[in-house]
Amino acid sequence: MTITKIKKDHLRLIFDRLKDSYKLVGPRVENDVIVLTEMDFHDIPAGYKDLHGKGVYRLSGNKDSNTFSFSLGPDSFKRFLSPPVREIFAFKKSKKGISANVSSKEEKPTAFIGMRACDISALKLYDKVFLEGPVRDTGYDSLKRNSLIIAVNCLYPNGNCFCDSLGTGPEVRDGFDLAITEIQDSFLLETGSSKGSEILNGLTIEEVSDKEMDEKNSRTEDCKKTIKRHIKVNDLPWVIYRNPEHPRWTDVASRCLACGNCTQVCPTCFCNSSYDRLELSGISKKSREISGNKVRAWDSCFSKNFARVHGGNFRPSRRARYRHWMTHKLAYWIEQFGSPGCVGCGRCITWCPVGIDITEELEAIRK
């Protein structure tokens, strides 16, 4: 890994260069929230600060002189690598039999701009689920393989960040093509792959002084110090396994809406359901033909029909469903994939309409 630097106003050149071969996806302000969409250099919410509470989010502009002054919005990059609704194949059933057609669209590869350490860690977990398991998700594979990751080291954590406790941030260590650290007068650039170094070819890059390295390290330390939320992990998964009947589960169920927001914003939640999409025009009584599409969409363990089998759902109550969600994140995952299924991004806390806080619930289960 090599580290160089560019002048602050040269960042735009990197964007210009990327645009030729990539679709740029990154942070942009939409209706007073930082979302991830297709964007360009001038869309970066530079100077914006986002305030995160339990079930509360507020964004304000012109608050800081840094370009990457903001933290995370509700979207994670899973929106692009495992899209919310995706057509898997088209099918046709006729007297001759059943045929299926996998539609493959050639798309311009995507460059993900401004990915934080927690989200990079989440992507590694996604790889475990979608690529390293018994079945490879070819859709995810091709989207991921062609993409480029431009990471950003966090300057300011938000009030719900707790990556530090899980070792998933705030410092970006690997899993990127290019990583940006903002210091007072320039951007420091670390390259993590040959694709990453290629981007810098021909740009005016300069050497990094010891003083600037110190500034980088002290900025990372400052960020760590301002992380207010923590989670104890040394007694996981057993503290949860030992407490399936803890009264706190009933308490959280009285607050939980089973709305699924926490799972939709979580960068590691991966659950999907698939269904057949049929149109009236796809059915012909005369020729006895049915044609339609198999579609896959994000689902959630909070919905009653998810995990429903003949006779019902093994988790019929909100109590059982919340308990399952937290147990999966903080306990089953450890056995399934070797690490917790939480990277401490805090999104589930911010975007829960009633402000349920996973760190607080875990602490309560301990008592």
Binding site: P84, N261, I290, S300, T350, P353
Partner: protein, 253 residues
């Protein structure tokens, strides 16, 4: 093969859901290929005769004779499907369930004595067995055709019972409850509309009715933390699905 016979019936309602069927436009022609629309007063003057494979019922029961008519329709039908908030939850007119019908009559009509109605407006399912319910004010056309397709090929309709938030998040809409403290009913409301109101930065007012296992108490408590009074909270529920939301609220608390 004979096309299944369909009847479309109306009780107390605004006809909006029937209009949604007509809004299928060219798809309506596909519908005619597959089904025999034997009774549908909005589109044809074919008289009411015989039995139906599927009866589609709009509107709530709010008069004495409707109570008899719905039994007659049920007896003529193999399957009975209700469409919309009125038929499925009693509609906006069910607001009278919480007040006095005489007061309402006197307040609204110049000659209240000629208004011969029941003191309540109730969903079809309180009167006869209903095979399937489609929510919405009005219903979503896609959900309607999905239901008919399911009948044709013998599958369960793929219509979500989870929250509107799921749909809202899939669409990538910034949440106005969290980012602006708008009292959005999305977390306790069924998906199905395509998150129409949040798309326009407006809070959902619940026209698709309560989702399964809706925890209304908890959401209203949060609205109170955001500054709404208890009365304002109840008023949020008192729209076209008032009967269903209030029932869900009582049953869960």
């Amino acid at each position: 093969m004979k096309r299944p016979r369909i009847g479309v019936f109306k009780f107390t309602s605004c006809d909006g859901c029937q209009l949604s069927i007509m809004n299928l436009e060219e798809k309506f022609l596909d519908l005619l290929e597959l089904f025999d629309i034997a009774y549908f007063r909005e589109t044809t003057d074919r008289p009411l005769t015989g039995h139906f494979d599927i009866s589609i019922v709009e509107g709530s029961i709010s008069t004495a004779w409707q109570k008899n008519d719905i039994v007659d329709i049920r007896e003529r039908s193999r399957y009975l499907i209700t469409i919309g908030a009125c038929a499925t939850a009693g509609g906006l007119q069910a607001l009278r369930n919480w007040g006095s019908i005489t007061d309402y009559k006197n307040y609204i009509y110049p000659s209240p004595v000629i208004i011969n109605v029941l003191s309540t407006s109730t969903p079809i399912s309180e009167h006869v067995y209903v095979d399937y319910e489609l929510w919405g004010c009005p219903i979503n056309e896609k959900a309607f055709s999905e239901t008919l397709i399911s009948f044709l090929i013998g599958k369960k309709p793929g219509i979500p019972i989870y929250s509107l938030c799921m749909e809202c998040k899939r669409m990538g809409l910034p949440c106005i409850l969290v980012s602006k403290s708008e009292p959005c009913l999305g977390p306790v409301t069924r998906a199905g509309c395509g998150a129409l109101c949040p798309y326009f930065q407006k809070p959902c007012y619940g026209c698709f009715g309560p989702k399964e296992d809706a925890n209304i108490e908890s959401l209203l408590k949060q609205f109170q933390n955001m500054g709404l009074t208890q009365k304002e909270c109840i008023l949020l529920l008192d729209k076209m699905n008032t009967y269903a939301y209030r029932k869900a609220k009582i049953e869960r608390s």
